[in-house]
Amino acid sequence: MSKKSAGKKKSCPFASDLQLAAELDYKNPDLLKRFVTDRGRIVPRRISGVSAFYQRRLAVQIKRARAIGLLPYAAKGV
């Protein structure tokens, strides 16, 4: 058994879809929700497959959305 899964390499949803990349904005919380966990934390890019370039932009937009209450900061324990 190999340690790493031999699954298909994830591709960045933004790099492969420039239309989606243009919609990456803090005023679009429905898109951002796909990249936070149900507790409100930002999903690491090793899980989501987002490229480093877009992960940096994504993080900024998520934080802006949090500041005006469109996304939660961290949900308290479940």
């Binding site: 005023k27 409100g40 500041a67 005006i68 209450g69």
Partner: protein
């Protein structure tokens, strides 16, 4: 003279009614004109749930003003928002540097609504249809 493009999102206490919204809006517009800024468009996102509690509020009326101005426009608008009691929170985002107001396509930008604004408009239209 080059200007900069900014947008300011404001959260207004929904319990104070429409009057508070218009009052906040006139103050913002006053601040903008007094610092020779130019309004591009106003987005009304309506009353929305806040993802967390803010000063005891779970809901807020969201407004988003997009404008051309200078750093003093932002300072003046934020100063006015701070002294407006109905305002729960606000956030200004810098969008574009060195915009030439003479060449700026105001009409085109006016129609360039964000997803939230589109949804709020659709909701308001649906409500109007029901009541009509």
């Amino acid at each position: 003279m080059f200007l900069r493009k900014y947008e300011t999102v404001v959260l207004i206490n929904p319990e104070l009614g429409e009057e508070a919204v218009t009052k906040t809006l006139t103050r913002m517009r006053d601040g903008l004109t007094s610092t020779s800024g130019k309004e591009i468009r106003l987005e009304d996102w309506g009353v929305k749930r806040i993802a967390y509690e803010l000063n005891g509020n779970r809901r807020a009326h969201y407004l988003c003003l997009i404008y051309l101005g200078s750093n003093s426009s932002v300072a003046e608008i934020e100063r006015l928002l701070k002294i407006t009691e109905a305002v729960i929170k606000f956030q200004t985002v810098f969008l574009e540097d060195r915009v030439d107001p003479a060449k700026f396509e105001f009409e085109k930008e006016r129609k360039n609504l964000s997803e939230l604004a589109k949804r709020a408009k659709a909701k308001a239209d649906a409500r109007k249809e029901v009541s009509a």
